[in-house]
């Protein structure tokens, strides 16, 4: 029986919203690397007499994320105060949404182990403010052995969307996929950068083991998960810890445990914290947040194509493989680059190959954003069209691409350099004559009327195009050939 215990996992994800300014004041949200306590004001420092005023942009981004998750958006939501004392919490309470969150009841589709997808329910998305940071005075910045602790309020008041999943996840790998899907969505929407290492996407996991009937254990919350690896490893650890405990006849207590990166174990926190009573009540400083149907509709119209839909379109509409499409949609900018290249006439399969290899490789190597990529999508399209039509060999095209990227020259210039340049009319004519001389038999067949489908002249055209390395249009080549053959 005990082997049938299966994990039940739910995740709470905090996403920093890319508002630029804090949720209840006008201070900048830059806190990484900033001098401590520079992006602060009476509001986010919780000075006496200061009052919060809600940043409309945070509501907008929260609504976009809620809509993208298929949530129901509440036209009337509310902010509560979550009361507790901690030095990084300037007001002694955190303003957060409680029983009336901005968005409820959504879902996201996540890849499962068997190559299919699994729909994970989203219980809610709510807005709240971030706390400041404590910097401990010990040499290594840790709490242990610190002689003093300093408070940096730059992060206090940074807007967060907390996204709570239903306990629908059944494995550490699926949990990882869920975070990846959510991060992809957040980035696609532009509501946040979703950087786990930098803390702009933070994950808390709830996990319990469930057996047949009512058997199993209590839910354990794991905190301090700073990477996908930490998420997976900590869940694996907890599953085996809880399995062992239950198999030895023990019971899993409901508690919060911290993941320790170094020992790769979770550690229970003191039970005193468990008894915390946050005394939630509606924040009297903030009237209920009322938004209109019109606002929600405007947000809905602004929703970009979501990663899932885009991936489907790439597969079904453009004939890409699932794997290719998945790579392309991972980053919204890359997907948009690919889309723009196709719209400019690039053959989709070829564009996909180039974007996934040439473009992404360079972006990764140079740690660049796709927006700063020097070769524009329509330039790539023009180049790939030539490859497709056989005017350019792949090798030459790569040479051109490299020059376009590193020297920021025009396509014409690159083509001239690597393809020999566009020939003058004299050069074209000379080449034409040479081609005809070398293929006298073909010319005779054509003149003898034995080329009804134009296949033979097309053959000559191909020879010339190859010799020209794509530096002239097929039309011009054809014109030259016809003149030389028929007006001889």
């Amino acid at each position: 029986m005990r082997e049938e215990l299966s994990p039940v996992i739910g995740l709470e994800i905090h996403v920093q919203l890319a508002t630029g300014t804090k949720i209840f004041c006008g201070c900048s949200t830059d806190y990484i690397g900033a001098v401590p306590n520079v992006n602060v004001c009476p509001v986010c420092l919780g000075l006496p007499g200061a009052l919060p005023s809600l940043n409309a942009r945070a509501v907008e981004l929260g609504t976009l994320a809620g809509l993208a998750l298929g949530c129901r958006i509440r036209l009337r939501s509310r902010f509560h105060r979550k009361n507790y004392f901690y030095p990084d919490l300037p007001k002694g309470y955190q303003i957060s949404q409680y029983d009336e969150p901005l968005a409820e009841e959504g879902f996201i589709d996540v890849a499962d182990e068997k190559g299919g997808t699994r729909r994970i329910r989203i219980l809610r998305l709510h807005l709240e403010e971030d706390a400041g940071k404590l910097v401990h005075g010990a040499g290594d910045g840790r709490l242990e052995g610190a002689s003093c602790s300093l408070v940096d309020c730059n992060r206090a008041g940074v807007p967060l969307a907390e996204i709570v999943s239903a306990p629908d996840l059944t494995s550490p790998a699926m949990s990882r996929e869920y975070v990846l899907a959510l991060r992809r969505l957040v980035r696609h929407l532009g509501v946040g950068d979703g950087d786990m290492e930098a803390g702009s996407l933070r994950v808390d996991a709830n996990i319990s083991l469930k057996g047949p009937g009512e058997s199993g254990g209590e839910r354990v919350e794991i905190k301090n998960l700073n990477s996908l690896r930490a998420l997976e490893r900590s869940l694996e650890y907890e599953i085996s810890r809880q399995r062992d405990l239950i198999s030895r006849g023990g019971t899993v207590a409901r508690e919060t445990r911290h993941w320790n990166e170094v020992t790769e174990r979770t550690l229970g926190t003191r039970s005193k914290e468990e008894a915390q009573d946050y005394r939630y009540f509606p924040d009297p400083d903030l009237p209920p947040l009322v938004i209109t149907e019109g606002f929600v509709e405007a947000c809905r119209r602004r929703l970009p194509e979501l990663p899932d839909a885009r991936r489907r379109r790439f597969v079904e509409g453009l004939g890409l493989s699932e794997e290719e499409a998945a790579v392309l949609v991972e980053e919204r900018g890359v997907a948009a680059y690919f889309d723009a290249a196709v719209a400019a006439g690039a053959p989709p399969r070829r564009a996909s190959a180039w974007v996934r290899t040439e473009v992404l490789r360079v972006l990764r190597e140079e740690r660049r954003a796709v927006g700063a990529f020097p070769v524009l999508p329509d330039t790539l399209a023009a180049l790939l069209q030539r490859v497709e039509s056989g005017e350019l060999s792949t090798t030459v095209a790569r040479e051109c691409f490299h020059a376009l990227r590193t020297e920021e020259i025009s396509l014409d210039e690159a083509l001239r350099r690597f393809g020999g340049g566009k020939p003058s009319s004299e050069e074209l004519e000379a080449l034409g004559r040479r081609t005809l001389e070398e293929n006298v038999d073909v010319v005779e067949e054509i003149l003898g009327g034995r080329d009804p489908k134009g296949k033979k002249i097309k053959y000559l055209e191909g020879l010339m195009m190859r010799a020209l390395r794509g530096q002239e249009t097929p039309e011009a080549v054809r014109r030259t050939l016809e003149e030389l053959i028929f007006k001889k």
Partner: protein, 491 residues
């Protein structure tokens, strides 16, 4: 007549007409203030030099042709829970004894923009919790009408300053009666505006959904001018209404009571109210009637029965959260300790006074899990019921007449029991529960020369009616005068 006996609008008129310089006006008040302050202790921080500098600056600006109105040169006292940039803002607490506000409250900005000169920060019950100003860490204020008695609270310093002629105008804050009751005790007028009329930005919060800044003065016209200056939309306070405001001063001079209906509350006819205060109310009603108003019977049964209890659940609940920021970490009083919890315990244990602790404990209790529904949620229902009862009353009345206080000013130490002190707020709390405007009007003096008063409660945004009725009553009762003073030199 001395300069410190004039009303604010009259002083501003003198200055505007060039009859007096701002410095002359301010100096006259400062001299009087320094003469009296040793006796009354109405201020936590006198701002003598700052006021002189400001007066000189205003005179220079005026000489340069600047048009500053409508309070140009008017000395004002600001309750010490309202931020004045660069000045201590103590809230009457040890916790903020040395805290200097780095910014101006919006209300202060508006007053300064109108040309007012801040002459001091008014004493108050610690964090506005109290009805006698006995809860100030800096010692009590004495009532200028009788220095053996309390000035009321929590804006006792502001009320005493206006009564003693330090300034014709002061700012107070009113959470459950903290402008009106001290105004009544000190024989001046006080107005608590509709919730959302005046920005709370820069007012150190006691109970956010009740707090409202308002003026105290000896002249109804001054309340009207002050309201015009203070009552503006402010996006730094989301609870401050963006509704367009009207003007009051000119309009109330032609106010007529003909066809107006004055609501007389059925439930406490002659109940636990001091007979002289009850008589003052009846007297006021008769004056209104004589001026053409109709008296109508209204019921506030549940309001009178449950309002006070609801208030003393909800206000402490909000306070318990609002005062959490006083933890000694970023500003204010701090007792450092090796362990964080110990630092909190000592900082708050020594930095806050007993009444503040009592309300924080009450508030923490009523919000705690398991008790929330029984206390906080139930009190919210009472609050809605109070608003409904007023709604019904205002279907038949334009203004409701109530006493401000059930008692005349009492002696220091006379009301020691906190519950007995809370009962002082029974008639003022309803307006805060329902967010209504309410005005306490000085109506002369009774036995032992103690000031009498009545309270007018209006519809939401019904300040015009309150000021109109008050101006007619003021003509009949006579505007209160500042005390002449007997005090020793302020040192």
């Amino acid at each position: 007549m001395e300069l410190w006996e004039y009303s604010a609008w009259r002083l501003a008129e003198f200055v505007a007409q060039g009859q007096l310089s701002v410095s002359e006006v301010v100096e006259a008040h400062l001299t009087h203030m320094q003469w009296q302050e040793g006796t009354y202790h109405a201020l936590i921080t006198p701002m003598v030099e700052a006021a002189r500098d400001r007066a000189r600056a205003l005179d220079t600006a005026l000489a340069g042709g600047a048009d500053i109105s409508p309070l140009c040169g008017v000395p004002v006292v600001i309750k010490d829970n309202i931020c004045v940039q660069g000045s201590p803002t103590t809230c009457g607490s040890r916790m903020l004894e040395r805290w200097v506000a780095p910014y101006n409250a919006t209300a202060v900005d508006h007053l300064l923009g109108a040309g007012a000169v801040v002459v001091g920060k008014g004493n108050m019950d610690e964090f506005a919790m109290g009805s006698s100003t006995e809860n100030s860490f800096f010692g009590p204020t004495k009532n200028p009408r009788d220095p053996n008695r309390v000035p009321g609270g929590s804006s006792g310093g502001s009320a005493a300053a206006v009564a003693a002629g330090y300034a014709p105008l002061a700012l107070g804050s009113d959470t459950g009666g903290s402008i009106r009751q001290p105004a009544a005790f000190c024989g001046v007028h006080g107005l608590k505006p509709t919730y959302g009329m005046v920005s709370r930005h820069g007012l150190v919060a006691y109970a956010s959904s009740f707090d409202q800044i308002g003026p105290l003065a000896r002249d109804v016209g001054d309340l009207a001018v002050a309201l015009e200056v203070l009552g503006r939309a402010d996006d730094r306070d989301p609870t401050c209404s963006s509704r367009p405001r009207t003007t009051y001063l000119n309009a109330i001079q032609t106010y007529s009571l003909k066809g107006r209906r004055i609501g007389m509350v059925r439930e406490f006819a002659g109940s636990a109210v001091d007979p002289e205060l009850h008589a003052a109310m009846v007297h006021a009603a008769r004056i209104c009637q004589d001026a053409g108003a109709t008296l109508v019977d209204v019921s506030l049964r549940d309001t009178i029965a449950y309002g006070l209890a609801a208030y003393y659940i909800l206000a402490p609940a909000e306070a318990s959260s609002n005062l959490s920021r006083f933890d000694g970490v970023r500003f204010g009083f701090c007792r450092e300790a090796e362990v964080l919890q110990e630092q909190y315990r000592r900082t708050r244990g020594e930095g806050l006074g007993p009444e503040v602790k009592r309300r924080i404990l009450t508030g923490t209790y009523v919000l705690s899990s398991g008790y929330y529904d029984a206390y906080y949620a139930t009190a919210q229902k009472v609050r809605r019921r109070v608003a409904e009862e007023f709604d019904v009353a205002f279907q038949s009345a334009d203004v409701v007449l109530l006493p401000t206080s059930p008692r005349l000013p009492f002696y220091f130490g006379e009301v020691g029991d906190p519950m007995a002190m809370y009962l002082m707020d029974i008639f003022t709390v309803p307006a805060n529960l329902a967010g209504l405007p309410a005005l306490s009007l000085a109506t002369g003096s009774g036995r032992d020369g103690l000031p009498l008063s009545v309270q007018l409660v209006g519809r939401p945004w019904g300040e015009f009616d309150l000021l109109g009725v008050a101006s007619i009553l003021e003509k009949a009762f006579g505007a209160p005068q500042p005390i002449q003073g007997t005090g020793g030199k302020y040192s």
